[in-house]
């Protein structure tokens, strides 16, 4: 009898432990935050930057509202014009200058490429580079003196790379990148120094020289009419915040 009870007891102890562990596991399965300090810090910084931007936007919009309300009769035209100018700036129809980087795409030294053909800037390379630049915070970009805007197309037409219809055949090709401030420019410079794009260009027999502009650089205005056949006006109740 006694021996029987011991076996039973050991089993019940085991069951108790299992039950307790299961209880604890089930209780603690709410979503755990696995981000470490650095990731958290980075996220926080991102969010704060976003918040600042949103605040700025709110302020500008509020100012505009106030202006509209104050001078409905008097300065309607002027306000409309400033709004139009702002929008033009945002879209890229005006010249813009600021701190930034100058990237130069050149063929690599001839001694290295004897026998192989001179490198060609393919649309893929350019797109990749642009994506990278945008990721690192580029505000405005001009490729070979042609402004890149949201609707810019880079594509291969008859074996010639074209940006919005302008062909890119001559090397060196200069890219001007404008960023928000000098700090950003420096950061982008450092990031581009170690970027994979340099290798990608090298594979195509091209070099990508990156230079941090000492003075402000200027990108030209987009000088083509913008076609917007596929765009629609956003609903009036759309949530704001995307600038």
């Amino acid at each position: 009898m006694n021996k029987k009870q011991w076996g039973f007891t050991i089993i019940t102890v085991l069951i108790g432990v299992m039950l307790a562990i299961q209880f604890k596991t089930v209780k603690n399965t709410d979503v755990r935050d696995t981000r470490d300090t650095w990731q958290l810090r980075e996220d926080l910084q991102n969010e704060e930057a976003l918040r600042l931007e949103l605040l700025k936007e709110i302020r500008s919009q509020e100012e505009k509202i106030a202006q509209y309300e104050n001078n409905i009769a008097a300065n309607k035209e002027e306000i409309l014009r400033t709004t139009l100018d702002e929008l033009k700036t945002e879209v890229g129809l005006t010249e813009k200058s600021g701190p930034g980087l100058i990237l130069t795409i050149q063929p690599i030294a001839e001694e290295l490429t004897i026998g192989s053909q001179v490198g060609k800037v393919t649309p893929d390379l350019l797109k990749r580079l642009l994506n990278e630049l945008n990721r690192y915070g580029a505000k405005e970009v001009a490729i070979g003196g042609h402004r890149v805007i949201n609707s810019t197309v880079i594509r291969d037409i008859n074996n010639i790379t074209k940006i919005d219809g302008y062909s890119i055949q001559t090397l060196p090709l200069e890219l001007r990148v404008i960023v928000e401030n000098e700090h950003d420019a420096e950061q982008m410079y450092k990031r581009m120094q170690v970027s994979k794009s340099i290798e990608d260009f090298f594979i195509e027999n091209l070099t990508l020289d990156i230079e941090l502009a000492e003075n402000e650089i200027t990108v030209p205005a987009y000088n083509e009419p913008i076609h917007m056949t596929d765009m629609k006006e956003a609903g009036k109740k759309s949530e704001g915040g995307h600038s």
């Binding site: 089993i11 085991l14 108790g16 039950l19 307790a20 562990i21």
Partner: protein
């Protein structure tokens, strides 16, 4: 009679005191193992009440059922079929049956005890 219940509480105490947790992915296996364990436990109690209890059957049944259930769940996960439901079903039904038998035995004993008392 009281030793196993004390054991259960000791086990619960140990489980809650130690800071041991299993990963989420294995919570399923543990739950099915617990079901198997409970089934064996009630089976053992029933056998005990029916005087057919065997230590060997009980202990081996305990571990074998747990392994079978966890194995079935594991197989189910890898086959994409919820095989653990089979274990849940089997053990659930057995659990109810065992508890029903236990209840009947206890009731029968209780009533017979009362009758005996009345007779005396």
């Amino acid at each position: 009679m009281w030793l196993p219940i004390l054991g259960l509480f000791i086990g619960l105490f140990i489980g809650f005191m130690t800071d041991f947790q299993i990963p989420d992915e294995y919570a399923n296996y543990l739950s099915i193992a617990i079901l198997a364990a409970l089934d064996t436990l009630f089976g053992g109690i029933r056998a005990h009440l029916q005087d057919v209890y065997s230590e060997k059957i009980f202990v081996s049944g305990f571990f074998f059922n747990i392994m079978l259930a966890a194995g079935l769940a594991f197989l189910g996960v890898h086959l994409g079929v919820d095989l653990y439901l089979a274990a849940v079903f089997a053990f659930g039904v057995r659990l109810f049956q065992n508890i029903a038998v236990i209840r009947r035995i206890l009731l029968a004993r209780w009533t017979s005890k009362n009758e005996n008392l009345e007779k005396n």
